[in-house]
Every structure is written in C-alpha cells, then in structure tokens.
Symmetry: C2
Subunit: 248 residues, 2 copies
DNA sequence: CGAATTATTGAACGCTGTCAACTATAGTGG
DNA sequence: CCACTATAGTTGACAGCGTTCAATAATTCG
C-alpha cells in the first residue's frame, strides 16, 4: 500500500490504476473487463479519499450517492436502533465494498466508521449503474457482490441465533484469520482493530463476555491474547468448537 | 393452479397477465415499465408454478437458475449449518422475491419451504439480467430489491444481537401485522403459518420460550392467542415494549 | 506524566434453555 | 364419522450461561 501511495504521487495515471486496484477484488480484475471498459470504469471512480481513524465514511440518514471500495484500512458498519442500541453489522477490510444497503432507499441506513486510518475509492452509483447497463459482466458482478452480502448476513444470523459465546468467538477469530490470510497477511497472528465492545456488539455479547472468553481460549492454549494482538496457536481446536457442539 | 393451466390453454394472454400480477409488488408495476417492456418481461416469466405445503421450492446446494416471486402463499427460508442446526432467515409472503442469495455462487444457499399451498412465478435470472441491461429502470429495481434484503437482514441482526425474548416476539408480531395489512388482510387478526419452533429459530429462541412469551402477552392483554390464530388487542403496548427498554 | 479509555476479573443475579409431563390439534385410516 | 396416532403447543421446575455491577489493571493519548 505504501507502494501505491508513492506511485500515486508520481503519476496520476497510475493513481487511476491504483484506484482500479482498490476495487480489484470486488469490481474489476476478477470479472475480466476489457482494457477499454476498465478505462471507462477508471474515469468514473474518483480519486482515493482518506478517512482517518474514528471518522465516519458515511452515516445513517445521509443521502446515498456512492458505494465505497476500501483501498486500505478497516471499517465497522453499524445500525443504531431507535432507542439507541448499536448493532455492528460487519467489519470490512481492503478490497471490500460498502454502502449497498443504501441503494434501496437512497439513504444510508448504517454508519461506516474507520477503525484505522483508511483510504477508500468512491464509486458514484448512478454512473456505475449506467456503465453496468452497457457491460453485462459488470452488471452481473454487482448482483453477485450484493448477493454475497446477503449470504454473509445469513451466516451472521446463524451465529447470533444458534451459537454459544465460545462458538461465536471462535467463528469470529477464524473468519478474521482467513480474511487476513487472503490479503497476504499472517493468518495466525493479527491485530484486532476493534474494541471488545465492538466485537461484542457484532457477536451479540457483552464486552465482559468477549474478554472472558478470549481469556478462556488463552488458558486452553488455543490462542495467545495480548491486548488487541491475537495469535492463533491451535486453530484446529477452534474449528472443533464450531462443529463439535451438535455434530458429534 | 389447475385454473391457471386451463386459462393458459385457453388464453395465453391471461396467463401472462396473471404472471405479471405475481411479481407486481416486487418487479413490475411500481417501477413504471412501459407496456412494451412489461410485455417482454411477461414472455420471460414462466407460468405460475404450484408448491404444496411442506414442499421445497429449492434447497441449498441446488444449482441456481431463477429467482422466484411469490404469487400466493407463504414460505420460510432457512440455512442449515454444517452440524445440522437450522436458522430460519426469513418468512416470505405474496409479492416477495426469493432466491437472491444464490446469485453469488450460482448455487442456492438456503432451503425455501412452503408453509402453505403456494404459487410462485419463476424468473429465469439470466434472461431477467439481460432484459435489465436494456431497461435501466428494471436494473435499478433489482438492485433495490437486493438492497432491501440486506437492510432487512440488518434489522434481524439488531433483533438477534440486542433484544430480549419479549422484544423479539413483539417485533415479530408487529412486523407480520404490518405486512398482512399491506396486502389487504387484517392487521389485527391473522393466522401464523409457522410452528413455534420455526418462530423460535427465526428469533433465536427455543420454542418453549416463544410459547411462554405469547402466553405472557395474552395474560397482559396485549394479544389473544388461539393456537396459530393471533389477535392483536393492544398493539401500542407491543410497540412500547420495543422502544421502552433503553429509550426511557 | 496524568487522564481517559480500554480491558480484565470476580461475584451475584436473572433470563432463557433444558428436561419432562401433559394437553390439544390435525391428519389418517378403518 | 370416529377412533387413533403423530404432531404441535403449553406449562412447571430447575440449572446454566451470559449479563450486570463493581473493582482493578493496563494501555493509549494528549
């Protein structure tokens, strides 16, 4: 990523490329656009925009204009109920697309908060949509990305509806591990960007339960916890926790 | 269903009309297609297909070909975890679209089971997609429908992650009430199509808790329960249950 | 370095799950 | 049509998991 930033300062063309790059996983390369089509996509996508830790990329209630592809960084998305309760609906990292919930009503329904200094690419939805009308493969890809979000949400429902605290934490750690791994980071040792309270909100647990369960995993030798640094020592045992419960 | 088949054999135009009808809420009328475009949509949508109570419209793992618009009836959608736990991810009624989770992988990820004798219209996704490329308003509508599903799922997460049993049940009943009302049925008196266990699976509760809580609501005079027949007597108190918890 | 935030840990309570017995309803076949 | 059986629903007693409240420790940030 540092590479990209340096390239960006040198050559605007490469900036666009790096912007295309940003949505690499979610929008471009894997779907096989022609160079021309990618060019066109590039002209739509505005330049990378920084979002500092703690800042909101958007907030519930704001009018919807664009989707955002995370170039670098880490975000949480959360809905706030009328009576003020926060539910974290997801944690999102580089290459992922945010804001799809807003399409339905033309207003954002979530807050998106950066949990570390981040950079996003803005994808003006109207223009993306228009381009998608001409480029079937892009259209299809958008459907797929949204569908994937629905599938992910179903997984969270399963977690919230059926699992015990230990299973939820295990699933959470394994999921993070896998996603870091895909992005070229260590799958066995990573830094949590969120507080215990935010983990708890996502998993439907109180922060004390999160803390206790992490400690328990550490006592059992499954992981090593040092504040927000997690080291997975025995991933297989964590996986067992997930399947053993009724599968036995 | 027999009626429809007969109609079809007599007058194809009427069959198609009834099919358009089926996806009325989700696909056609509200988005303002021209007669020509609706005509084209009609040719894509295959004839109404009956699904008997207890039958699966589709099952997880089956290859994905079509979305389904519910013409009449009532369905549950559920995911089954590896170790056999069922999570009901939603209940769906006439006018709603099912199967969008399958777009991402080209395989269904849910089971869709009819909870009463139903009829659906099959919308072959490939053709719908193609048409959407030519009809921006249809394309946009598909995005919106999928986005709405994501928003709905976030609402369920909030429910599962933050609410107590009473609040979940209250939210559930009020939601059903509203949806029946929109469809022209009574909002204060309706028949539950699902078992206590299925309600529980959806709400992340055990069936005993569902039963107990319904009884409690009845004792408090909020509702009248007679097996699967629900009468909402004091909807305001139910709404209060939802907001009072921390909002006070 | 001090203040604020975040995390850990303990103890007690309460909500919901579990187990069990019983009742009611619906569907089936004589 | 009725008896029978299977399924669905209700209710009670009790236990356990996670929450709540509270005190303390560690870390971050100005």
């Amino acid at each position: 990523m540092i590479q990209n930033i340096q390239i960006r300062e040198l050559t605007p063309r490469h900036l666009r490329q790096s912007c295309t790059n940003c949505s690499l996983r979610e929008l471009c390369l894997p779907i096989g656009l022609t160079p021309d089509e990618m060019q066109e996509l590039d002209t739509i996508i505005t330049q990378a925009r920084p979002v500092k830790r703690g800042e909101a990329l958007y907030r519930a209630g704001e009018p919807f204009k664009s989707l955002f592809a995370i170039r670098v960084g880490f975000f949480k998305a959360s809905v706030i109920s009328e009576d003020g309760r926060e539910q974290v609906t997801g944690f999102h990292m580089s290459g992922e697309l945010m804001g799809m919930d807003a399409i339905s009503s033309d207003f954002h329904t979530c807050d998106a908060i950066a949990l570390e200094d981040s950079e996003v690419c803005e994808l003006p939805f109207g223009e993306i949509e228009e381009l998608a009308g001409d480029v079937p493969i892009l259209q299809r890809h958008l459907y797929k990305v949204m569908s994937r979000e629905i599938v992910r949400d179903h997984g969270v429902m399963l977690l919230l509806g059926n699992m015990k605290a230990e299973e939820r934490l295990a699933a959470f750690l394994l999921n993070l591990s896998q996603r870091f791994s895909i992005r070229g980071y260590s799958s066995s040792s990573f830094h949590l960007r969120m507080t215990r309270e935010e983990i708890g909100s996502y998993l439907g647990l109180k922060l004390e339960t999160v803390s206790r369960t992490l400690s328990k995993f550490q006592d059992q030798g499954f992981i090593k916890v040092q504040n927000r640094l997690i080291e997975i020592i025995d991933g297989d045992s964590l996986k067992k926790l997930l399947n053993n419960c009724q599968g036995e």
